[in-house]
Subunit: 651 residues, 2 copies
């Protein structure tokens, strides 16, 4: 039996009241009242970030994971795991707003148009200037036939389609402009998939051939969404913007997002959230370029399969559940109207193709951007984002896999982890045991302010320094016997203090715990094991790899030396490593501009052999061997062995 | 300056109040209050049917056409031409409801499926039973690729498309049915127009090959909408229903409808109205056949260009204005979802192609149904509906024209005209001048009740009888000198009384006036002139026509003898005439079933030469010559000359 309960919600500044059926979750009541409670784990009760305090009233706890007995007796509950059973009064802590500023300048690398780009040859979206003879009593041809004839006189188009929405505006547009118009046409000339040409829109009069025609390359990352506004006529990029994916409040990784989307109207909410992120970026980019979203007639979208499924409102549960299958890898061409993208409603939406549930368009586009698929050299490409996807190969063969590394290197699942934004410690050095003041850290903070936490590159250098200086043993345990106040036993076991409370932004110590280190060790072990399994699958060793290409916006902050020292990257000559930046959007940009590049992505997706690690024993063994710093087999890391032996005090 | 006016509306049974800005029309205020005032002329102030009485308050008359000075001083106004300028009290007469019963049994002719119909060969919509190997860790193919492979194993389909809406339901449907489903596919195999195959829907499990797969043939007439529910598997018709087109209340002919649709939200309203008519018929047809609208996966729609434009929500103004051009003659294939047709939302909507603004799909489909385009014989085909469209030709050539005959033969524009429904006088005989009781009529009434008016076939026989018996002269003037009370001078000039007040349903005399006769004369003259011009355009005389085919639901009630006597039809041997019934829906039915027939309609539309009569001097001369009964040149009507000379008392 359900009853209606009155829910009173106290926030820092206000008190709100809403009514909801008994049995509803606290998060649902809050959402109904317009309060957005962050649920980084997607409402699974795993992260403990949605804690609220029940002052009075009956509730029912499904789970109290991460809460202490004291928390529980003080009325603290997980909002995503607690149902309302009577009238209740709930106190909500201040919701942590995401830092809204991304280090855009750092993530964007100036990308020139492809050399000799000629939109007349390479571009699938064309603009034609048309002058028609008006209808007369001697020529009563219908408007649409008349327009088709005029377009065909300029282009080799066998079949031209038109949507009902464009047809509705055709007659008035032709007459208002006295039969002198410019037609924007998706020529359908993509590749051999039977796609017909399609009229996107009519523009008044004859548009100058050099006037911009707008497109956009979009990358939907689990963490970050990026938009590049592109002039399709000359290929130049007019604006490059990035912003957090608004879905973050509903889960930090793809698994949490899938789980959230499977509940209630989660699927619609996820679609709405990512669209809001993209649409805001598009508006902002258009403002920068002094144009209008309605003038964008084509977008190419890259992203992992979960991001693409959520964008399109497609169910994504089968991606999460064995045997890990997507609804679709090769997305049919869409019109913006169909998904609510804020560009011209008839604009072409081209979602780039993926390979498997965890190797998506971001990777096929990344491979294109890396050009490894055209090279004689054997390349190992890794996209370091919320997950780690790896591709090994050359122009003749390509193998790929995905490591469920988790978002540890993006700061999630780590006590004082944070993203690489203002206030993040991005590099750390620790004094040696033989110094006057041993085991003391020094660090660099993004924007040079008081630190708030540690980002991925900071975590890598921290672990490397702790390991090399003996704060951490090979197995990843903090040495509690050291004579320094930096090492101590905390709530969650052994921990190392990176910054004392008085030095920090929030007035609490910034630490790294054994639990954090374990999470990071698992992540790096998964990635390294992925390298090994891919190489072994084609009978190679990692030493035989000619170049090691690192994509993903996080990739460019990695200190190669440190990453090798913790065993995240293999111990190769440093000059084999190359940073490529956000390869996903770069690939989307090329695909947006050039039909041949677009076709190459399709072909690359077709010839990539996917290796499913979760059912691979070799992977499990490689993973276990990599659960050390840098590795159980030190012969695999000769340069690290050398450094270690130089450091004093090592076991 | 506008102000808000309170409008009080008194109907027979109730008083309603609404508020509207000053300057609004009385019809708008009524619509806002939920009262539907009939506007048969489309709100042009021409028909005088929307008269209401303003009891008090200020109004502004744009026009008072058809109102007498007495009417005006009594406060009567045309609701479609009168604006509200203060608080007003308006009295509304009882709205004449359309008789909701059509003589369905009479209009429907049993139509067998094409001989040897084999859906596997002829049908463009196919149902495949599929059994797929479920995904596994060894085969992680995405759902949509897996399904495509299964379909391609059974059908020669190069490119298969899927809408986002179907894609959203794919995964769950496949899993819930354990990878055993039946797929309904539009094979795209229509004709060479680059159309891709498209998945329409998945059905659970393996559907029996003999189980019905539903389609519908639809004819949208200006007056009547017809739906045939068809089993696409065996071609049989499961239900045939007709109903008035709900747009009638917004205009009796296409011109009035176009004008109405051009005002305010008229276009949306017209679309809504015709959809309501079609959707009701579909629901009723499905009930009869014990099935569900959602199971209909394909429709073929016929109708004149204005009806098709209004159905699709396309602007139709250019159809009405010189040089009379449609937005589109060959409509792109649509999904039901796009226009709101109540069948499966993904079902294919195939609007058959037209030729010109006044020669539409109803005529191309009619030609197909008549088979004249495959015959050696020279045929003259006429579709008698609200307009009169004519096609002349054989398997080698086809010429066509449209006569703006107007709806006089459907009873509109005639004082006591009405449609062929209950209470309509459908045939009339008049006694000769040499009889005891000369010039006395006798008549037959549909359903044998007291007469309410005269329908088209009644008007034809009435004029023929009046002419042959000397009540009417050759020029169409009523002879007021006759010694009979049936002939008299009325409000609108000379008139002939067909039924006295005490004999009628409404207690008023049923008459025909000189004005009515003039309207009918113009209509018949336009049609006859059309015949002549078409024949002359190819160097033929009407005597050289081998067969004369009459389509349109009205066609089958015409008494050939009488129609020749008034000069509506040419004076040919009666056995050259043939009734074909509703050829428009019959053609749609064949096109729905058979890809070859569908292609033939397309080709027929392509090879019909359209002759625009409004710019044709020959037509004007032929029209003037035909403005007599039966014609100025009696040699063209030898059989009528004979009959006339037999009748006594003729001048």
């Amino acid at each position: 039996m359900t009853q209606t309960c009155q829910v009173t919600l106290q926030t820092e500044n206000s008190t709100l009241t809403t009514e909801i059926e008994s049995g509803a979750l606290v998060t649902e009541a809050a959402a109904q009242a317009g309060i957005d409670i962050n649920q980084p784990c997607g409402g699974q009760g795993r992260c403990g970030r949605c804690v609220v305090q029940v002052i009075n009233g009956d509730i029912n706890r499904r789970s109290s994971m991460r809460l202490t007995p004291e928390d529980i007796s003080a009325g603290y509950v997980l909002a995503c795991q607690t149902t309302i059973e009577s009238d209740v009064l709930v106190k909500l802590p201040k919701q942590t707003k995401l830092e809204r500023k991304l280090a855009t300048d750092k993530t964007v690398i100036a990308t020139p148009p492809p050399p000799d780009y000629d939109s007349k040859i390479s571009q699938t979206t064309q603009r034609f200037t048309l002058t028609m003879t008006p209808p007369s009593m001697d020529d009563q041809t219908d408007d649409w036939s008349r327009l088709q004839t005029a377009i065909r006189a300029q282009a080799n188009i066998s079949s031209l389609s038109i949507s009902l929405d464009v047809l509705k505006e055709l007659g008035e547009s032709l007459r208002a402009n006295e039969w002198r118009v410019s037609a924007v046409v998706d020529t359908g000339d993509w590749y051999d998939d039977g796609r017909a040409a399609r009229l996107i829109k009519l523009l008044p009069g004859h548009v100058d051939a050099d006037a911009p025609l707008w497109g956009a390359a979009i990358d939907i990352g689990t963490t970050t969404v990026s938009v590049w506004l592109v002039n399709l006529i000359n290929g130049e990029i007019a604006a490059q913007l990035s912003e957090y994916n608004a879905q973050i409040g509903r889960g930090e990784d793809v698994i949490s997002r899938i789980i959230f989307s499977s509940k209630g109207n989660g699927q619609e909410e996820m679609q709405r959230l990512v669209l809001s992120s993209i649409n805001e970026l598009i508006s902002a980019a258009c403002s920068q370029a002094d144009t209008d979203p309605d003038k964008i007639v084509k977008v190419a979208i890259s992203g992992n399969p979960t991001m693409i499924h959520l964008l399109l409102g497609l169910p994504s549960q089968s991606i999460r559940l064995s045997p890990f299958v997507t609804a679709v890898n090769k997305i049919p061409p869409l019109r913006a109207r169909e998904i609510g993208l804020n560009i011209n409603p008839e604009g072409t939406v081209d979602c780039l193709p993926g390979v498997a549930s965890y190797v998506g368009a971001d990777i096929t586009a990344g491979v294109l951007a890396s050009q490894m698929e055209k090279s004689d050299l054997i390349s190992l490409f890794i996209d370091v984002g919320t997950n780690g996807e790896i591709v090994l190969g050359n122009q003749e063969w390509l193998v790929t896999c995905a490591c469920s590394a988790g978002p540890a290197f993006e700061g999630a699942g780590v006590s004082d982890g944070m993203r690489a934004t203002s206030g993040a410690i991005e590099e750390i050095w620790i004094t040696g045991s033989n110094t006057d003041n041993p085991f003391e850290p020094s660090y660099r903070v993004i924007e040079n302010i008081k630190p708030k936490g540690i980002c991925g590159s900071g975590l890598i250098s921290l672990i490397a320094e702790m390991f090399l200086n003996g704060v951490l043993d090979k197995a990843g345990n903090i040495n509690l016997t050291l004579d320094t106040p930096r090492v101590r036993k905390g709530k969650h076991g052994a921990e190392y203090v990176v910054a004392w409370a008085h030095e920090t932004d929030h007035g609490n110590d910034i630490v790294i715990t054994n639990v954090d280190i374990d999470n990071l060790k698992r992540a790096k072990a998964a990635i390294y094991a992925g390298f090994l399994v891919l190489a072994e699958s084609v009978g190679l060793t990692l030493e035989m790899v000619d170049q090691f290409l690192i994509g993903g916006s996080f990739g460019q902050y990695i200190n190669i030396e440190k990453a090798i020292q913790i065993g995240l990257l293999p111990d190769l000559d440093w000059d084999k490593f190359q940073y490529l930046g956000n390869t996903s959007i770069k690939g989307a940009y090329y695909a947006l501009l050039d039909r041949n590049q677009r076709q190459e992505i399709e072909e690359t997706a077709g010839r990539m052999t996917y290796i499913e690690l979760s059912s691979d024993n070799t992977f499990y063994e490689a993973f276990m061997s990599a659960m050390f710093f840098p590795h159980t087999d030190m012969e695999k890391f000769p340069s690290v062995s050398q450094v270690v032996s130089k450091h004093a005090g090592q076991p």
